[in-house]
């Protein structure tokens, strides 16, 4: 059976969702203001006759009309970074400011790390944690190409990251990645409720450790690129004794509230403050994002 069928009740316009889920994803990129200001970059794309559109909800996001955006000179020189549209949401929700100390607990390949650094104007400190040595390579390579100068990389198991206080923490957790199906088919073949429950244990431990590390009043953003409530709302619900949810609103980007009923069980009503992003709403991949403030 199609593993997506179990979401029929929670995803609006389910048939349209299924149709869009099987279409390829349009290439998108983020303007890297650490190296190039927005206006100059757009003028340059115009001069080179490149066809693009900026996102309605984020002026630094670009939809590109090219076949291999990675080959573009502006990408090789680090003036833009190829990044899925919704992957730009969690850093915006995290809202880091220059001079703060921020942890990106599951960082590789570093698109969000670099976006966080750019929001901090290269000031303050971002610790990008990635336990896998193989995955540190693309993380480092992206940071260096994009001219990031305020990121230090660590290789701890995120569940045991040492006790250091942070102003903001992003937990972009390992997940079943159902929202990435449009990027390259094959993800759904591995997807199942059982797999989601296996991942849930890790996700809860990561989020609990993040909330231990955040200073009181600090912000922790939890995100995944999957639809499974077991990996989303049910993970966030497990920490609501130590943090409160804050509403997420991004004007111009269509979303759905987090769900509060699943498989006959009623969940915490505050979970509707978290956000679900579906492919057929904005022609993107899929994401779940929750913003928590530590008590």
């Amino acid at each position: 059976m199609d593993p997506l069928q179990r979401y029929r009740e929670i995803i609006p316009n389910f048939d349209q969702f299924q149709r869009v889920q099987s279409l390829p994803l349009p290439p998108t990129a983020r303007i890297n203001t650490l190296k190039m200001d927005e206006q100059r970059l757009l003028e340059r794309l115009d001069l080179e006759g490149m066809s693009y559109k900026t996102f309605r909800w984020y002026p630094l996001g670009l939809k590109l009309d090219v076949e291999s955006p990675g080959k573009l000179l502006v990408n090789l020189l680090g003036y833009i970074h190829i990044q899925e549209e919704l992957s730009m949401v969690p850093p915006l929700v995290l809202g880091p400011r220059p001079g703060e100390r921020v942890l990106d607990l599951c960082a590789s390949p570093g698109s969000k790390t670099c976006q966080i650094s750019q929001m901090m104007e290269n000031k303050g400190l971002v610790i990008a944690n990635e336990p896998s040595l193989a995955r540190v390579t693309p993380l480092r390579s992206n940071c260096e190409r994009l001219g990031v100068m305020n990121v230090a990389i660590t290789r701890y198991d995120g569940r045991n990251f040492p006790n250091v206080p942070f102003d903001r923490i992003l937990v972009d957790a390992p997940c079943s990645s159902e929202g990435r199906e449009r990027k390259g088919p094959g993800v759904m073949a591995r997807s199942s409720c059982k797999r989601s429950l296996d991942l849930q244990a890790l996700q809860i431990d990561l989020l609990k450790n993040a909330l231990r590390l955040a200073r009181s009043g600090g912000v922790v953003v939890y995100s995944t690129c999957t639809y499974a409530p077991e990996e989303n709302e049910l993970v966030v619900e497990s920490v609501l004794d130590r943090a409160r949810l804050e509403k997420i609103s991004i004007p111009g980007l269509k979303d759905c509230p987090g769900i509060t009923d699943w498989n006959g069980v009623h969940l915490d009503d505050d979970l509707q403050l978290s956000r679900r992003y579906y492919p057929h709403l904005n022609n993107t991949g899929g994401f779940y994002v929750a913003k928590l403030v530590k008590n």
Partner: protein
Amino acid sequence: MSPSSSRIRNIFEPLEPSYVADLWNSQFGIAQSVFMGYLFFRKAQSVWAINDNCLPRISYEAIGMRIMNLKDRPWKPTTSALQVFGRHATKNVIHLDSINAMIFLEGKTLVIESNCEPGYVVVFYRGEVLGCGLYSHGKLVSQIPKERRMASVVENGACEDQ
């Protein structure tokens, strides 16, 4: 601190900013003040730079950007570091026209006349730094890392996110 001990223990050891600033000043004529506001570390033969921060005392895999390699004589700047600091260079710079710039970005060698001293140079195109080149006897050898060359980016593919 002795440079040899970090080579043996493979840990990040703090470096005096003036040590780094003097090397870049003598090779590229970059004012020492450009390097203020950064912390520098040496690990094995590499030098790393990060914006001046209070770094928690934990174990690091990387601290900021790898900016130079001290293994060979002369020391070699990274292309990433030249893209940050190289625009302040006042000597040992080469400006390319558009055809040569593309050849350079493909990682190839150019035949070119220049007054530069033999050694590593900052390569510019349209006022922007492309990266590091090795100049000697009328030849400019591109030092652009493989994954950032014009032709090879697709095969590498490691830089894209979900």
